[in-house]
Symmetry: C2
Subunit: 420 residues, 2 copies
């Protein structure tokens, strides 16, 4: 089965079989990598980033920064780069044409073909991608933290990662996910991007987006699904722990708040750039590779601080020519709790704005910290119980990331042993 | 402004100005008509039935019965005929080429150009339109009650009706309604067909259909609306009184359960035929003439007894070629009350079927008859209070049609005095 991904290109899959892999890595110079790069290698190798087959060359980075396009003209908003220090290049004698063995946590992971070694002004990159050079923007900070050189070139995975419980049942490659959708008979699938445990506002955001996505399709058989796609990447103190995010979304279906045949939970490895509208476009591309047809975007999607207007991430989709994206944005407003209606309802329909209560992050957080079960119209009891359970089981007593969690958590994925 | 209606034809408007009308009716043979015909004359004259310009000729009726098409090839599912007895034809010497003055309640209403006088087998018509010849089907009964001859020919309204309060503010001709939509800036409008006072199940049916209709449109400005279009026609004992239906729908918006900018209430005069799927198509045509882009269809739309499968009215829309209809069906399942979710929710998404509570007509009716205010999750308090108020003000103490209401209600419309 051939699956077509972003840019009309076949879904990339660059994974060597074990025997070929063992052969291929012989004698290559090992270069250790950090978590972000390891996650992006997985993304590239399984086609999450189709049509990318590796890290970007200078021409790609320039195109992305200046025109939001790869060198081949395909829409792409955020540079995907492999950074390395001049010292390491010199020390290891890395030169264009080489193949490097990228290692993660002392194990072989992938081969990087050194097509180009280049530099790019980081301030310029920051300004062009994020619209600011301020270091307090986390995407800018991430850019400034890149080492001084970049290597562009193809990636081949030689040692497929093992996804650890409880994440293993939620990890699907783009091809696997598309098979899953075909089995379910879904013709339209809408993505819900998340880094939160779901309160009823999130639940109805998904239900509303499902209805908007379903549109005029028949209803006798379920033809439309919602895919929760949790972004799993670098964590910061105070974030929800990953285990609670994923398991609590999944329990919404298990406990019947979604029918079995309309909902699926999954993860994608990615370190948020908080690029606002450009990150929205990136998420759309990512999810189109996963086989989704629609992507919901709420207010201030992937934004941070006041760098972007809350609706920039809605508007940016108006500017692309037909066919630039193979997925439709579903733009949504907030679902709020309305005490007059006595329910969670859509701000685009409810006329009781002056009485409405938004789901404030602070309130939700304090509810969880207090550990006192809230009304079922804020958190479903099954979700709340599971948050508490996850805190005990995975979070060293906390549903939010702590130093201890950062240091001692069970990793999301590990590489099997492999000789090199 | 030119408005295009069903079949790609300009919206019909056949209404003479007073002076021309006074001139035109001089010397015409008066023929009294009953309520159904008077309502259909209004529909024809203002273009609700575009492209029809009058009552059907034999070729149209044959096309509609045999192929669901007018003689000109335009999709049309239900005969619109003017029936008359042989006695009356003979007595008044009516012949093809004549013009008749149709009078209603002893006042001139419209001119009928006698293009063709014909007969049509009523059993055949019943079988072909309703799929049955059983007289207990109310559409079949209505067919059998037609007098023995039909007159096909154009209609011209000579004495525009005055719509009486409280209906006057809800009556819009197709052209007026389209102007209204333009003022509101609505790009998509979904029709809610109703003959009920709205409980929260109906309210969410509309809210869900709004979301399905809205789809991927931007949200910064309201581009999507829901039009409640109440069918006002012959009443039967036990029906809701018309005043309660219309006013209670409207109060949903006035009381803020719909935002001011997303909702509008209106009426169309029509005697339900209960033709199930064919009536669904008829409703779609009617609402496309009103300028709507979408039409919601629930389970068993316009059905009666067990004559049609609950999903026939969903499926029938699959069979028409592109462009046959200028309106999209939005097929919906029920919204039910789920005690686990603690709210009204969509049966297509909620997984608690075994706990769910459908809004049973019997329950709702008994609530109204008891007059004890139900939980706001069944009836909005403003709706319930207004039902009670309407019962007093318009229903002779009852929210449901009684003999007294049938005999003494204030009519929905009256014809002004006019000499003839």
């Amino acid at each position: 089965m051939t699956y077509i991904g972003h840019g009309g290109k076949e879904i990339v899959e660059r994974v060597l079989e074990p025997e070929k892999a063992a052969e291929a890595i012989k004698g290559l110079t090992p270069v250790p990598i950090r978590g972000q790069i390891a996650r992006e290698i997985i993304d590239i190798s399984y086609g999450f980033f189709t049509p990318l087959e590796g890290f970007m060359t200078r021409a790609d980075v320039e195109g992305v920064c200046n025109e939001m396009k790869l060198a081949n003209g395909v829409l792409w908003p955020i540079p995907i780069v492999f950074d390395i220090s001049t010292e390491e290049i010199n020390e290891k004698g890395i030169k264009e044409g080489d193949k490097l063995l990228l290692t993660y946590q002392d194990k072989p992971m992938a081969i990087l073909e050194v097509e180009e070694i280049f530099t790019y002004d980081k301030q310029e990159m920051a300004q062009k991608v994020y619209g600011t050079t301020e270091e307090k923007h986390p995407g800018v900070a991430r850019t400034y933290n890149y080492k001084d050189k970049f290597i562009g070139g193809k990636i081949t995975l030689v040692n497929p990662p093992k996804i650890n419980p409880p994440f293993d049942e939620f990890f699907f490659t783009p091809k696997q996910l598309r098979q899953k959708f075909a089995e379910k008979g879904w013709q339209r699938i809408v993505a819900h991007q998340t880094r939160n445990v779901p309160h009823t506002g999130h639940e109805w955001l998904m239900k509303g987006a499902w209805l908007s996505t379903h549109g005029e399709l028949p209803v006798e058989k379920t033809l439309t699904g919602v895919l929760v796609n949790a972004i799993i990447g670098e964590k910061r103190k105070g974030d929800y722990i990953d285990e609670a995010i994923v398991l609590c979304h999944d329990v919404l279906r298990k406990a019947g708040y979604f029918r079995e045949d309309v909902h699926l939970t999954s993860i994608t490895l990615w370190d948020m750039r908080y690029a606002g509208p450009k990150e929205a476009v990136f998420h759309a591309i990512l999810r189109s590779n996963l086989g989704l047809t629609h992507h919901m975007f709420g207010r201030d999607h992937a934004g941070v601080g006041t760098y972007y207007d809350p609706y920039d991430a809605h508007r940016i989709f108006d500017q692309f020519p037909e066919g630039a994206l193979n997925i439709k944005p579903v733009r949504v407003l907030a679902w709020w709790y309305c005490p007059i209606c006595g329910e969670v309802t859509y701000s685009g329909l409810c006329g009781h704005k002056e009485h409405s209560q938004n789901f404030s992050g602070t309130l939700i957080r304090s509810i969880i910290q207090d550990g006192v079960k809230p009304p079922r119209l804020i958190f479903r009891p099954e979700v709340f119980d599971l948050i508490m359970e996850c805190a005990e089981k995975y979070g060293f007593g906390s549903a939010f990331v702590t130093d201890k969690y950062l240091q001692e958590r069970n990793p999301v994925f590990s590489l099997p042993d492999m000789k090199y």
